[in-house]
């Protein structure tokens, strides 16, 4: 979320604080629940996928034994085909603990890291609905250097500059995440960027003078596909559109399709992460 979007959101929060809000009942059009697919191909890790379902906007969720059944879509046949082989993902609930991520379909094979490897996702739902998607592996763009500089005006505050070298022969898309303390924390920076207008191979990502000595900074640069860039941007615009009266909402731009009318993303997860403890 950039500065342009922060001002109206702050204004809405201010209005809420001024008691200018009230609960209202509104009728929305009929909505048919849709399957939601999240499948990130992280080199060296097993093929994993979260298959869940969307809700009508005002549906209530009960946190009882039916919660998982109501949310996750089980009983589907999920396969990923690449390099002439097919990995069938087993319907099994697993989780990473830090940061917490859950999956309900897990494969046997490890995701290959070779850039350009093509992957095809096929899902047949229990009700016969079909979902397909395709993507290819991205090359890693490493972080060249991370520089911490302290303010000449306030010497207790520092900033962090992160440099990468961009391949200017093709259009590249990046996602930048900056977390303080832990990867489970809400990111201080989360934005998408394209190199379309970069006049130099060197690209810098910076912070303001906001770091103190001893801070731990998790600094991640994802090299992403155009489809992933469009999907995440549309998710961010949809979220902002719901908070900001000046913003135009966006429909979700998925790269999975099929008779099941899915929402979702099938994309490689290629990133370089630097962890720095700020020192003078």
């Amino acid at each position: 979320m950039n500065f342009k979007n922060l001002l109206p959101v702050a204004a809405v929060l201010f209005l809420m604080a001024c008691n200018l809000t009230k609960d209202v009942e509104i009728d929305l059009p009929e909505y048919d629940r849709q399957p939601v697919v999240e499948c990130y191909l992280e080199p060296g890790k097993p093929f994993r996928l979260l298959l869940s379902r969307s809700y009508a906007f005002f549906d209530k969720l009960g946190l009882d034994s039916t919660f998982l059944e109501n949310t996750l879509l089980d009983g589907a046949m999920v396969t990923v085909t690449y390099n002439g082989q097919t990995d069938t993902l087993k319907n099994q609930l697993t989780a990473d603990l830090s940061p917490v991520k859950i999956f309900n379909y897990v494969g046997q094979n490890l995701v290959p890291s070779t850039p350009g490897t093509e992957f095809v996702l096929n899902i047949r739902l229990a009700d016969g609905g079909e979902i397909t998607g395709a993507t290819s592996m991205m090359p890693l763009v490493p972080i060249d250097s991370v520089v911490v500089e302290f303010s000449p005006d306030i010497d207790t505050l520092g900033r962090m500059l992160t440099y990468i070298t961009d391949n200017q022969n093709q259009e590249n898309f990046y996602r930048r995440l900056l977390n303080y303390s832990s990867l489970d924390s809400f990111p201080d920076q989360d934005f998408l960027v394209t190199d379309r207008f970069s006049q130099t191979a060197l690209i810098a990502f910076g912070t303001g003078y906001e770091l103190a000595e001893g801070d731990t900074v998790f600094n991640t640069i994802f090299h992403v596909t155009r489809e992933y860039y469009d999907f995440v941007e549309s998710v961010q615009l949809a979220v902002i559109g719901n908070l900001n009266p000046f913003a135009q909402p966006s429909p979700i731009k998925s790269n999975v399709h099929g008779s099941a009318n899915p929402i979702g993303i099938f994309a490689p997860l290629v990133y370089d992460r630097d962890t720095t403890i700020v020192r003078k």
Binding site: L15, E30, V100, S151, L183, Q199, E233, F246, P251
Partner: protein, 800 residues
């Protein structure tokens, strides 16, 4: 309804070659002139009509020869001309204007008679000098329809948000015009978009007539003389926008004596000085306005400087400066020079962050009025317009800037020719050079190792030529004309013919029936990322890929004079829009050199069977009641909902406005003149249309990214309608004056007097519970956010 068939009926293929277009124009000119030149010779009375107290020209004042049943009105420069049959007997002439004493004169009708008339304002010293357009009966008799005028008297007296009187917000109270959003100066005229209004200040285009993200307009009511809006039936001299023409005229300056006005309000102060440079020959006016919230916030920041937990308040202010001088060079020549400069500035600066965002307009006009003779008058104008915004951020060693700019340089000549009382001919032309810088982005390190650049420059030439005649045939008046407009932005070239016709049939001395048709073309388009006006919206020219927008509007109506003081006007209209421009879903506006790829081109229509206005302009109680029943649609955008038709945000079905100004009492006490006036407005509008999500899903995202428990899923556009909007405002104006001293008034303005919570925005609140999988949303609630509660404000105004 098959709109394509209807549209094709009204719009035969219009993009023509230059030869065909010019031939058509001159042929039409010949057809116009043939009946005019065939008329007989008369004596002609001509001259100017002005205010005796300050020398301001009177627009729309009437000159009549009651014994002959002939009459006419002064044009926008106060010039009039009346032909009467030559004879040996004197003819009585009557000069009249609302709020002024009627003046009568006898003239011997022979040859050319020049009469410059000064009318005296009526009433006591405390009354505002009422400068209003046509009297109601003149309005009824005119071929002009779909026209509204706003007087400065109404603007200054009516209640206003934060006490900031605003001529554009009063305009929103007229039928057929909606604001698009509460509190803003948006203008959605007869279903058109906010960028489809040609707003001109002394004939120079104002591209973004807003301050503070649209909450206030750029027009300082102390400097404004007159505002007229055309919602349809556009005269041929206007072109370039589809839905309305808003013609704002600045005061000329008091040519009799030095005078001033000013005021101190809740958020801004104003000061205007005007006076003669050479009495009755030349005058000046300088008017300024500035907000001062930043002066208070800067003091707060200073008081808290150094406190560790204190977050500095950003600085924000806006200001306007209007200036004008005019010179009477000779009895036949008058020169006007006027300018406007306004800026909004948003600043934040501390040792760690340096941010500046400023935007604003600058306009300049030079106009030369020349009277060739009693029947021919000309106005030659040079205008310059500049709208720009710039966002700058400096951070040691790095900088960022984003800016856009649109500049126009325009030359225009208009002729006003009245060969006889049956014909009034206007003809002229203009050439405009447009220069656009769209979303210029520069970012990088000071040492040049890192550099981002984006943005493109465009330019275009816009040409216009027109001729129109108003022909009076007994009870029927017909104003028929043609405008040729052309646009060149290499390699794109467009030429379009825009027919204009308006008629008035006077059934009797109370009832007139009217009809009009007008085609308009728009060659510049506002790329707005939402329905609201933001300073960062970009103006974009017509190109090979983005064709000119076209509108066709037909209107019929009737005006009935009830008694002597009330005019009831009914109109019904239908408007078709072609080549409408909208963004594709999720379009990228900034840092994009290929903006056209983000656009979708479609169509639209709007219609109203009932647009009603009941006006009362004279007496102790004045005001109007307006009602509009209308439908507005957009569609056929291939990339938006697969071309489905949808309602834009401003498709509000019913709109009602009631505006009342009541002069309660005038009295004298202890040598002071005093008066009390109560004003009120009441508005009702069906709810705005909104795009709300139909579903939601959970997005856990990649490691390090936030777990989004509620991502809205947006289905078809604009399927939800907000609850209806109602607001009542009240004003009390108390004036007093000691003889030969300042005139003062205290104006109490109560915005939203009933403290009603109107819907501004609906947002979603999510109630979550913690589980092993994180925070899970268990209940979603809709929350209506309102913008303004009851807001009283007090303004002190003075005049000397």
């Amino acid at each position: 309804m098959n709109y394509s068939a209807l549209l094709s009926f009204f719009s035969p293929a219009i993009v023509l070659s230059r030869t065909v277009v010019l031939t058509a124009l001159w042929t039409t000119a010949g057809l116009l002139l043939f009946p005019i030149l065939g008329s007989t010779q008369n004596a002609t009375v001509s001259g100017s009509l002005r205010d005796r107290q300050n020398g301001e020209s009177l627009i729309g004042a009437t000159v009549q020869a009651p014994g002959l049943g002939k009459g006419n009105a002064s044009n926008e420069y106060g010039f009039y001309s009346l032909s009467i049959p030559e004879g040996k007997d004197s003819v009585l002439l009557r000069f009249a204007y609302i709020g002024y004493q009627t003046q009568t004169l006898k003239v011997l009708p022979r040859g050319s008679i020049k009469l410059d008339i000064e009318l005296v304002p009526v009433g006591s010293l405390l009354e505002e000098v009422v400068i209003e357009a046509n009297g109601l009966d003149e309005k009824r008799k005119s071929t002009e329809m779909s026209v509204s005028t706003i007087s400065t008297r109404e603007v200054k007296a009516l209640p206003a948000l934060f006490g900031e009187t605003d001529i554009i917000k009063i305009l929103q109270l007229k039928p057929g015009i909606t604001p698009g959003s509460e509190g803003t100066t948006g203008l959605f005229v007869r279903g058109g978009n906010n960028d489809q209004n040609l707003i001109v200040l002394d004939e120079a285009v104002v591209y973004n007539a807003n301050h503070l993200f649209g909450f206030f307009s750029t027009f300082n009511s102390d400097a404004v003389k007159d505002l007229k809006v055309y919602k349809g039936g556009f005269p041929a001299q206007y072109g370039g926008r589809l839905s309305s023409v808003i013609d704002v005229r600045m005061k000329e300056g008091n040519s009799k004596k030095l005078s001033g006005t000013g005021g101190i309000g809740l958020i801004s102060s104003r000061l205007t000085l005007e006076g003669p440079i050479q009495k009755d020959k030349s005058s000046f006016i300088v008017s300024g306005r500035r907000t001062y919230a930043d002066i208070i916030t800067e003091q707060v920041n200073r008081a808290n400087e150094g406190k560790p937990d204190y977050n500095k308040i950003p600085r924000y202010y806006f200001y306007d400066l209007n200036t004008k001088v005019n010179f009477t060079l000779s009895p036949k020549d008058r020169l006007y020079l006027s300018g406007y400069f306004g800026r909004d500035v948003f600043l934040y600066k501390d040792p760690t962050f340096d941010f500046r965002f400023d935007w604003g307009n600058a306009t300049g006009s030079a106009r030369w009025n020349h009277v060739f003779g009693p029947k021919l008058f000309s106005n030659t104008t040079f205008t310059y317009s500049d709208y720009r915004y710039k966002i700058e951020n400096q951070l040691q060693g790095f900088s960022f800037s984003l800016s856009s700019n649109v500049k126009d340089a325009n030359t225009k000549v208009d002729f006003y020719w009245q060969p006889n009382n049956k014909h009034t001919v206007r003809f002229g032309g203009n050439i405009t050079y447009h220069d656009f810088i769209t979303a210029r982005l520069k970012a990088g390190s000071d040492d040049g190792r890192v550099r981002f650049e984006a943005g493109r420059d465009y330019n275009g030439m816009e040409y216009g030529a027109y001729i129109a005649d108003e022909w009076a045939i007994d009870r029927l008046k017909i104003n028929y004309g043609l405008r040729l407009s052309m646009w060149q932005n290499n390699p794109a070239f467009y030429a379009n013919i825009e027919p204009r016709v308006a008629t008035n049939y006077e059934v009797n001395n109370r009832l007139s029936l009217k009809a009009s048709y007008a085609r308009m073309n728009q060659y510049v388009h506002l790329l707005a990322s939402s329905g609201l006006s933001l300073p960062t919206d970009i103006w974009y020219p017509s190109t090979e890929g983005v064709k000119p927008e076209i509108s066709d509007q037909v209107a019929i109506g009737a005006s009935y004079l009830l008694g002597d003081q009330i005019l009831v006007t009914w109109e019904a209209w239908y408007k078709w829009l072609q080549n409408s421009v909208d963004f594709k879903d999720g379009a990228e506006l900034f840092g994009n050199n290929e903006l056209e790829k983000e656009l979708s081109i479609g169509r639209g229509y709007a219609y109203s069977p009932l647009e009603l206005e009941i006006e009362k302009k004279e007496g102790r109680l004045t005001g109007w009641i307006g009602y509009t029943l209308a439908w507005v649609k957009r569609g056929d955008f291939p990339e938006i909902d697969n071309g489905a038709w949808f309602s834009p945000r401003h498709d509000t079905r019913h709109n009602v406005s009631v505006v009342a100004l009541w002069d309660v009492h005038k009295w004298k006490k202890k040598g002071k003149d005093k008066s009390l006036q109560i004003t009120a407005t009441w508005v009702y509008s069906s709810g705005y249309v909104s795009w709300l999500p139909s579903g939601r899903f959970t997005f856990q995202d990649v490691p390090g990214a936030p777990f989004l428990t509620t991502v809205p899923y947006y289905g078809p556009r604009n399927t939800f309608r907000y609850p209806a909007y109602t607001r009542s405002d009240l004003g009390i104006v108390y004036k007093w004056k000691k003889r030969n001293r300042f005139e003062n008034d205290l104006t109490l303005s109560v915005y939203n007097a009933t403290d009603r919570r109107n819907p501004y925005f609906i947002t979603i609140a999510v109630e979550t519970e913690k589980t092993a999988f994180g925070e899970i949303p268990v209940e979603i609630k809709a929350k209506q956010v309102s913008l303004f509660p009851i807001l009283p404000s007090l303004t002190w105004n003075f005049k000397f």
